[in-house]
């Protein structure tokens, strides 16, 4: 099956999410400057979609970026302390909104799972990345990925439900 969403659609969804919920204005989330190598990511959040098309939408970034995202979402001052569980909740909600809007582009109805957050994406062999969109947000690296999975695949193990 062809990838159900185009890279431009993922980018447009992400830009809309960040403008509405994170930054309050457009233009802060931009494509990652390609020649520059992407740094290591140590936080991942994702939601699974079940149905005729089974897949996953994920967001990977660094712990520092995740904390800054949580502060922005919660309207906290830069550098303000933010507990780890609130960072996980914020990142999970971003993945949830991303996944829900990706799901809306599918030709058939899909059921959205609950968001999960962990240090890395599950290492299962059931999926393949069909869209990978590296982005920069206030100098941080974020990668959004849409995965295609077997319709028989269940919700992945690993990660904490927010």
């Amino acid at each position: 099956m062809d990838a159900p969403v185009a890279e431009g659609e993922v980018l447009a969804i992400a830009a809309q999410i960040f403008a509405a919920l994170v930054d309050g204005e457009e233009g802060r989330l931009v494509p990652w400057p390609a020649p520059q190598p992407e740094p290591e990511h140590d936080v991942a959040a994702w939601v699974d979609v079940a149905g005729p098309w089974a897949g996953r939408a994920s967001l990977e970034t660094s712990s520092d970026a995740a904390a800054d995202l949580a502060r922005a979402l919660l309207g906290l001052a830069p550098g303000a302390p933010v507990p780890d569980d609130e960072v996980a909740d914020a990142l999970g909600e971003l993945a949830n909104v991303l996944g829900g809007n990706v799901k809306a582009l599918l030709p058939h109805y899909g059921a959205l799972g609950l968001p999960r957050v962990a240090g890395a994406l599950p290492g299962d062999d059931e999926g393949r990345a069909v869209r990978r969109v590296p982005l920069a947000w206030h100098g941080h690296s974020l990668v959004l990925t849409v995965w295609e999975r077997s319709p028989l695949a269940g919700a992945a193990d690993g990660g904490e439900v927010r």
Partner: protein, 129 residues
């Protein structure tokens, strides 16, 4: 005016609550439909409930259906606030008894506009009447 914000994400509850508080609402929060229903059963009254769809234990659609069953909580205005954006989902929610539907992501202005449509805020010149 009193509003109940029902969402399993604390982050989203705080975002919605902050906007509603800025508009003059008193806020209570619940992390799923079952907890929200328990608040109603306890006798608390609300003018508005903003309800997420996908939540553990009891989802937003089931919560809306239960609130609309019988006449006990007829006065509450129910607005889904969710990532579920397919037309068939919107139709299901409205059929279950939701009065309005707001798709995430949304801006504070979009939430305010919905409340004006629902008659919970006075319309402003140039805004949604």
């Amino acid at each position: 005016m009193r509003a109940l914000v029902v969402d399993d994400s604390r982050t989203m509850r705080r975002i919605v609550a902050a906007t509603l508080q800025d508009l003059g609402f008193e806020i209570a929060e619940a992390e799923n439909g079952a907890a929200a229903l328990a608040l109603l059963e306890s006798g608390l009254t609300f003018d508005l409930a903003c309800v997420d769809w996908n939540m553990p234990q009891m989802d937003g659609l089931e919560f809306v259906s239960q609130v609309r069953t019988g006449n006990r909580w007829r006065a509450i205005t129910l607005m889904m606030v969710t990532t579920e954006s397919e037309q068939e989902q919107i139709v299901r929610a409205l059929a279950a008894g939701a009065h309005e539907y707001l798709i995430k992501p949304f801006s504070p202005d979009a939430l305010r506009d919905k409340l004006q449509l629902l008659g919970l805020l006075p319309a402003v010149a140039g805004g949604v009447a």
